[in-house]
């Protein structure tokens, strides 16, 4: 139909757009939200890359990435709410 590359570009654009919020802020939580969204999108991007290169091994990378990103966001969020 359209082709993988187009989706890669599309998702890449989405990553860049969320990066805008990261740099813009204004609050730390804003940036963190941006990171959260960015990592979610990047996970999808990785999975798509796996297909692009036809290598299932990248799926494992995406999984680990998702786990680490989740914990990272939680840690920062807990820190920001003053819970730690």
């Amino acid at each position: 139909m359209i082709g993988l590359e187009v989706y890669l570009v599309l998702i890449g654009i989405a990553t860049l757009l969320s990066m805008y919020r990261f740099f813009k802020g204004p609050t730390t939580v804003d940036r963190l939200v941006a990171v959260d969204i960015m990592t979610t999108i990047t996970t999808g991007l990785m999975v798509l890359f796996a297909l692009y290169y036809k290598r299932a091994i990248f799926l494992d990378v995406a999984l680990v990435y998702a786990v680490l990103a989740f914990l990272g966001v939680i840690a920062f969020a807990r820190y920001l709410e003053g819970g730690l």
């Binding site: 091994i57 494992d60 990378v61 680990v64 807990r78 709410e81 003053g82 819970g83």
Partner: protein, 238 residues
Amino acid sequence: MVKRALAIITLLLIGFWLAKGLVGVPFGEDKMLVGEYYLENVKEQTGAVNAVTAVVVNYRGFDTLGEVTVLFIASTGVGALLWRRKKERSAKSEGSVVLTAGAKMLLPFIMLFGAYIFVHGHLTPGGGFPGGATVATAFLMLYLAFKEYEIDHKVFEPLEGLAGVGYVTVGLIGLAIGGYFLFDWIWQTWQFGHENIGRLFSAGFIPIIYTLIGIKVGTELTGIVDNMIKEEPKGGGQ
């Protein structure tokens, strides 16, 4: 301001110099010498499909032993530096039920992911380090969710040590059996799993070492988190 300007000028000149050096190392061109040898021989020499893993555990096993040591030092160092006569968690509030229940639910999964990653180190781009890190995040999650949570130090520290002892022991068995430290006796002497290349039961001692590393890294990173997250209670000096 002057400092920044000077810094920028200095850095640009340094950058130019580095770039000048890198021109002689053209990007994207094949510069392999030893690397090629690895790619060609990795399967029959180590049984690993993942050449990086074979390099990490077999060919450059010494580096990896060192790498494990570095992390061990960091964990030990953090433990030493943040040691207080009395330490306790100082978390001010617990996460909501969403976080606590979520943590409880995710804990086994994340640990299983971690185990999956280090067991498959010779087949996929994982290995002991990311696997161990994943396991550690499971514990980190508990720390983040619960105010009172604390790992069982009686188990963690000896386990960390034991995993290291195990690694060195595997290496020493290689010395005793094959005549070389860190010799892959399972693959090369016992020839175990030669018919299994590409499947789980292959690659000699790589899965064993990666499991040990995974345990070690998991316990170490958890220990680091534990040390960093705790504080000396107010008023109680050393």
